[in-house]
Amino acid sequence: MKILVPIKRVVDYNVRVRVKSDGSGVETEGVKMSINPFDEIALEEALRIKEAGKAEEVIVCSIGSKDCQQQLRTGLAMGADRALHVLTDDEVQPLAAARALLKLVEKEDPKIVFLGKQAIDDDCNQTGQMLAALWQRPQATFASKVDLDGEIATVTREVDAGLETLEVDLPAVLTSDLRLNEPRFVKLPDIMKAKRKPLEEIALAELGVDAGPALETTAFEPPPKRAGGRMLESVQELVDELKNKGLL
């Protein structure tokens, strides 16, 4: 069986993102870019499934500009077998991404599409659920544990109330939460090897995807700052302050 892992190129997790002074966007010039961390966890899980002998092939894919190929190469260095790059310089919103991924699903016929639960740039948390809807297949989102048994996946999900377990028939869409695994580090020989792995380019326009009605972003602003308070000297002073404010 095949596992398809869509990965997104995003500003690295450790970069403190700032809104441009003219409010036209966030500063992305010259900042480090990486695989979206949740997607990296999804890829790691797919690789572990393959290493456990339960999948034959792991395919990474990405939608975006030529630069995404850096992240696809990283995915190949982690251990993916080949890569698909849907090339576009336009902004791709979740619905368009899900529709493009459905085209790749039709082409590759994977048993599992494994995504991150959300991208850490737009924080939308939509694409996996949308793909599952369009594909008319099960979804198990926010996964913290995945067990495969033949054509059935048993998935533990991190929900507000605790841990929910779902059983889904394959093919299915899974999305990873933070604690599913810890992704491996890429070693230098693997980076060299990854250069020789196949990477297929497909123009987004060729897929014939209707992007649907796009949301228009009209303004960017920094978050309102919380005014700092004051330092107190004693527990008694703290209790008095809270009592004065009617909080105790």
Binding site: D123, Q129, A133, Q136, Q139, E164, P213, T217, L248
Partner: protein, 313 residues
């Protein structure tokens, strides 16, 4: 006409407070009508609870035995079928809403507006991106139905009041696809107030040092009638279960009173609490970033401070 359908969340026969918060967001849109859809098993009392909320025109009660533990795959087609009568469909930005609403949005052929924190007008909203490091204003084009999730921490719960809304009971519109089956829910969080909706929250961090020591936090929280939370570091260290994590990758909360105890204040934690009313920080390290946003800071060893605090409150 602007009309909004709200998707209710409920557990064990009780309407989740996130539903009333979603209603607050909907009330700011200025719609002619707001209805609430309740998907529940036959005989459920949840529709009656939703009907008491002030400002609701009608409760659409769709009953099916499968709705005791509803899955997104089962509910999304039901929502898509109901949505044709509305200009907006809102759900709570809880794991229930985050799982479900995008699936419904895709069936309706639109992008979702995730995590609305402010309503500007019927089609324009503010939402956080980059873990709250930037806020964007987004506009939904005129021809599209507005599908959105409402960030619970940004809206107070709408009150009950007035006359109960009428309840329009309907059978399910879609078949169960059968491919997605609920197995179980395990909850390790204990019996205290619900972290997501509590007025008071006491959170502990890595400085607690062990699961045993974390009992100090549980004890103080119980004394305060507060829910227990934790930093990501404390969760990663195994002191408490995952669902107690407060922060961008955990729960985003807005209690009236928040205690951050032994928490240094990583940005991802601060993102989860910045809508809190009053933040109290207790930490040994006077340079900890938590003090930059706390209303009251106290430098000290938590193992001395908490017992003293417990005596005085």
């Amino acid at each position: 006409m602007t009309s909004i359908l709200i998707i209710a969340q409920h557990e064990d026969g009780t309407l989740n407070p996130a539903t009333a918060k979603t209603l607050s967001g909907a009330l700011q849109v200025g719609a002619e009508a707001i209805d609430i859809a309740v998907f529940a098993e036959p005989g459920s009392v949840v529709a009656g609870q939703a009907a008491k909320l002030d400002g609701v025109r009608r409760v659409v009660a769709v009953e099916d035995a499968a709705f005791k533990h509803p899955t997104a795959a089962r509910l999304a087609p039901e929502i898509a079928a109901l949505a044709t009568d509305y200009s907006h469909v809102f759900g709570p930005s809880t794991t229930f809403g985050k799982d479900l609403m995008p699936r419904a949005a895709a069936l309706l052929g639109v992008n979702q507006v995730s995590d609305i924190q402010q309503v500007i007008d019927a089609r324009t909203f503010k939402r956080p991106i980059y873990a709250g490091n930037a806020i964007v204003t987004v506009r939904v084009p005129d021809e599209a139905i507005v599908v959105a999730t409402i960030r619970s921490a940004s809206f107070a719960a709408a009150p009950e009041g007035g006359d109960a809304a009428e309840i329009d009971a309907r059978p399910a519109a879609a078949e169960d696809p059968g491919h997605t089956r609920y197995v179980r829910l395990e909850s390790g969080g204990g019996d205290g107030p619900d972290l997501q909706t509590a007025d008071r929250v006491v959170s502990g961090g890595r400085a607690l040092g062990s699961a045993e020591n974390f009992q100090l936090i549980y004890g103080f929280a119980e004394k305060m009638g507060a829910a227990v939370g934790a930093s990501r570091a404390a969760v990663d260290a195994g002191y408490v279960p995952n669902e107690l994590q407060v922060g961008q990758t955990g729960k985003i909360i807005a209690p009236e009173l928040y205690f951050a105890i032994g928490i240094s204040g990583a940005i991802q934690h601060l993102t989860g609490i910045k809508d809190a009313g009053t933040i109290v920080a207790i930490n040994k390290d006077a340079e900890a970033p938590i003090f930059e946003i706390a209303d009251y800071g106290l430098v000290g060893d938590l193992f001395d401070v908490i017992p003293e605090l417990e005596k005085l409150v």
